[in-house]
Subunit: 768 residues, 2 copies
Amino acid sequence: MIKNQIFIVFFIFCFNFGFSQQKPDNVEIDYTQYVNPMIGTSKMGHTFPGATAPFGMVQLSPQTNFETMHNPDGSYNTKTYEYCAGYQYKDSTIIGFAHTNFSGTGHSDLGDFLVMPTVGELVLDPLSTSDGKKGFYSLFSHDKEAASPGYYKVDLDSYGIKAELTASERVGFHQYTFPKSNNAHIILDMVYNVYHHDNKNVWTFIRVENDSTITGYRHTKGWARDRKVFFAAKFSKPFKSYGHKKYDDIKYDGFYRRFKQDENFPEMAGQDLRAYFNFDTQGGEQIKLKFALSSVSSAGAMKNLEAEIPHWDFNQTKEETKAKWNQELSKLEVETLTDADKVTFYTALYHTNLSPIIYEDVDGQYRGLDQNIHTSEEFTNYTIFSLWDTYRALHPLFNITQPERNNDMIRSMLAHHDQSVHHMLPIWSHYANENWCMIGYHATSVIADAMAKHVGNFDMDRALQASINTANVRYFDGLGDYIDYHYVPDDKSHSSVSKTLEYAYNDWCIAQMAKQIGNTQVEQEFMERANYYENVYDSSIGYMRPKLSDGTFRKDFDPMDTHGQGFIEGNAWNYGLYVPQDIDKMVKMMGGKERFNQHLDSLFTMEIEDKYIEKHEDITRDGIIGNYVHGNEPGHHIPYLYNWTGHPEKTQSRVRMIMRSMYGPTVEGLCGNDDAGQMSAWYIFSSLGFYPVTPGSPNYALGSPLVEEAKIHLDNGKVLTVKTKNQSAKNVYVKRVSLNGISIKNNQISHSDILNGGVLLFEMSRKP
Amino acid sequence: MIKNQIFIVFFIFCFNFGFSQQKPDNVEIDYTQYVNPMIGTSKMGHTFPGATAPFGMVQLSPQTNFETMHNPDGSYNTKTYEYCAGYQYKDSTIIGFAHTNFSGTGHSDLGDFLVMPTVGELVLDPLSTSDGKKGFYSLFSHDKEAASPGYYKVDLDSYGIKAELTASERVGFHQYTFPKSNNAHIILDMVYNVYHHDNKNVWTFIRVENDSTITGYRHTKGWARDRKVFFAAKFSKPFKSYGHKKYDDIKYDGFYRRFKQDENFPEMAGQDLRAYFNFDTQGGEQIKLKFALSSVSSAGAMKNLEAEIPHWDFNQTKEETKAKWNQELSKLEVETLTDADKVTFYTALYHTNLSPIIYEDVDGQYRGLDQNIHTSEEFTNYTIFSLWDTYRALHPLFNITQPERNNDMIRSMLAHHDQSVHHMLPIWSHYANENWCMIGYHATSVIADAMAKHVGNFDMDRALQASINTANVRYFDGLGDYIDYHYVPDDKSHSSVSKTLEYAYNDWCIAQMAKQIGNTQVEQEFMERANYYENVYDSSIGYMRPKLSDGTFRKDFDPMDTHGQGFIEGNAWNYGLYVPQDIDKMVKMMGGKERFNQHLDSLFTMEIEDKYIEKHEDITRDGIIGNYVHGNEPGHHIPYLYNWTGHPEKTQSRVRMIMRSMYGPTVEGLCGNDDAGQMSAWYIFSSLGFYPVTPGSPNYALGSPLVEEAKIHLDNGKVLTVKTKNQSAKNVYVKRVSLNGISIKNNQISHSDILNGGVLLFEMSRKP
């Protein structure tokens, strides 16, 4: 009882000082109880169960992947894609806890600074020693594992150690309860990485500053070509001794001549090294470790550590972070038909709050794309922009749930542009690197969407100019040809149709920005480019089709094939429906509403042969309905397209079917990569009954809500309540929908409708 | 004539604004005419002929070493030691111009950012291409080469290109005069290094910011284990195209998929890469390149570039730097018996002004030993501390010629201590790295010497504490054993006698500091340690001798052998005379004046067998007189020891003989490594007639001046004039010496004598 009171006092404190000026009336509810971070940790969800604050730079999570990710000799094997987040539920061993993890991404990286507590003989090999003994990994079981927002615990059965983790934005907080031992260790493995190549490390560096403080950094050449992460860490108890092992063969003369470096030598450096810290422990003794990150320097990391967690109270940090999570989760207050749906919903909401991550020190300093140190002026800098995924629904969701952060993210993108030697907005960027993953320049969509919805205070002229610059980097990915030919010629560039379609949509986004700030010339120029999608439509067969530089369509063409047919991660059947900027015109172009309707019906019901999907990591049977792929992004708008064919009832039943079949409150509850929150954002929107089919427009297409009721607590203090009448699992059809009593006839609402608050009432029915 | 007037006007301008408040009356004399940077560039002098400002961070010099330093396959061979400064006079090819070079050191490193202009077919291999064609090196001849302080030029005969170099402190300025070509190139080779191992690069990075500006950095793991250098460079003419070749096999997916990276791709990174920039040139057209360095960031380098050389006037920078050199050289105004002596003298003075180097950006920021960025507050930060060499005469010379810089150097050492995880003062440090080269902790000597001479305004308490900390790092190089046993036991540590002797001297230095600030306890503690040299003297044989931990002297012992006999780079005969802190007591301990005198006589006249020197890079026949080794440091005080045996006349003749035989105005004018200026500083002092036998004491031993007259322009505005009477090559003996008319009887003067100015008159004689 006393504990709860303290918590409530603290909770009120948090809300009064800093988190937000908004004070929803539902702050007393503990929404974290509905979040299960284990959802999506099996198969291809690529989520992690570890501890993190909302959008935290530190995402501290168990790593299970040595078990199946590595060959017996320690080298990487082909299964690494499963381990983008370091954890697979099926595994039975943990090799430690790493401080950075992607959530749900379609590519692997990170896994920095693996920490592992052990007892007994010191072993520094993770899997097995050279003489065949067990490595330092531990067995664990899910029975003795628990995860909730900001907290993770597990028993490390091989050692009788209880491991608990929590985190503030920039500091991971470990609490290890040891058995009695005069041979206890905490290992800091600087070799460990999440990636699909060996030798990812460029350089590693550790300093033992005193008997309980260490600092250092790692430079990696993984997916990010040139990435530096610094750390500063404090142990709650002085170590009795320490040491390291280096895995490269360079002997530095002076060090070698003047010192014995094997033990208690405080300065370690090399390409690959593992350090250890030794302790005597009493039975039940807790050793804690605070481990802060920085992209700037170890001095920056130390600043972060001291600013965010100056104390040793693990529970305090755990509760503070829980409170931060409740602050985020309480923005959407839903009642669902089943408890399971509530868990699915709040876990999805949780997953939309894991990235982009805060990427700056407490003083605003961060390492920029030019590898120089920059300071964010009047905004918080973010990184991890998986934009080909997240522009679709995640950033639009932020415009409702996180307008301030989305503004900061856009300002971060503009800073990225300014630091880019190409003068480009981010494509897929993280930690001062552009990874150039996937196609298009969808930062323009995020900016246009915010502008259309009047979110943020960024410099719109600068944003437009950055977008124009990006759209004119001729040497980027077929863009020069696109500008010259008005489509991307298939004989000059792979994925030519996908690129043409996405560039055209992005150009429409730029035109919307220009329109909004009254720059007619730019608007016209880019509206023209926005129509280039027409140039890859072959009316003779009714599909988007690769076109050659001589103006003819490619002869050899299979609209079902997802390989080498002008599309990336899709085919003409599904990816070919990608004209979000002018759906009416697309429908007309493709033969009119009836024909398009039939195309959609077939898409959802046809059988797709194994040969078309077997080579795709991102298209698996789990995420497929007919030839519609929900487990990957290019088709996320498709279920809503029936609204444009005169059959909104088909959208309604289809989205309910997708929510039911493609999501769930289990470890397999994601049918494909969560993709940095995009998959979850689709679920949130669809659950609420509307979806941003065309980011950059202020409008949302209506679907069929899954919730019974939802209160959307807006940043402006208002509340939009989504209400349903006759809601049930079978009543998926919307008989009537009204906003504040006025019927909606066109199957859409606008962002200002949402901002004005009130009641959006769906009257449900079992029949269309 | 007009040109000269402009120069004089400029010259006056310079002296009025910034260089110094001191205005000697000899500013009109061009002392740079007496400097020949070629001296010491042959064999083991390890000097470089390139362009640098006094103590400049950029030391831009031709690299000839691929010719003999590399095997035909490009790998390094055993001759690299000759190439510590990148240049050997005997070579006939140049492969480019590098921006950092050690001067005279006994170890190799640096060689950053090699630039080479070529015309004709682009070749990116320095030596030879894979199909056996010529690499990008050029033939050159010394006839068409010239070097003077701050300026170097050479004709690159293979291309008909005239190359000229100058430099400010932080910016190298290249001026290349091309023939007519539509195929001219400037190559930036990031692979090239001065070092004795391949794979020195950790990482390299180049950005092409616009059509004439590039930035980037290099991280190396050479002698310095973890060294980062950043650059920013501007070409005077836009390049028509550019590109790079990468020498590692990592393909970064995103880059590879989205771009053609072979040409005009502005973002290059990898372990090893070479970039090129293409131009069309008219006959006689000059392309200039300003290339700035920073230890902080490329942004820092750009700041340095813009602050130091905002214009494109090569001659202006050349003249400014020449003026800076005259400012330094004019501090010692000498008349010599021969023109050759004058060249030797001023070149030696030049060589004492090449390192330590300024190591901070124009805004005071620099990368510290902890790899964090620091800002120098109220001092200029320096690096390259080759202290085992330079504490002997170079830093004592600075206390006369460069008191302000020496103060800054000490403050730099204190900052180093604060950043050191070991809490140690520098041993051999450069560029945020401690290389742990050679023995002792001689920063204590530099500090004690400055304190004894009242030079500087550093915090003396802090300096004492830093020295005490350094002297108590038990895990450093036998120091714990030294503290416990009162000598370094030979069975526990190599070079045990040398270490015992030097630690004892360093401890005496610490005692002097303590004495000066009245800390009696510390003074007594360290005076006790200062006597530990006695513990390795074996009176039964009359030599310093390795002692074992059981207290007995090592049985197997050869006092002539320089290998494994308890000494490093020396033997019991010469290194065993190392007790500068109490020479009288040493003489007495070793059998009294007469016996010691005989020892010295024998030392200078005995024959040393080849077997004792053949394996030593630092002890060569060139630098040997008997068993006295002038080409290396441990014996530099020995010629002056006769002053303590009652035979100062032997010191007088011996030092004149050494100056005559071991120095000269030719490329072979240094008999061993200049050792960052120590060898030259010995010459300067000895030429002036006195030498700091015991740094840390305010006294100088008198010798026999080589000059006819010398005016020492002191920082306090006073002048000490060294005058001679009957000076000649044969009149090496000092009949009488007087200071301001008062005879000196004890063969020494003090630092205050110098500071007070006046006339130090040597009356010379042919006979003792």
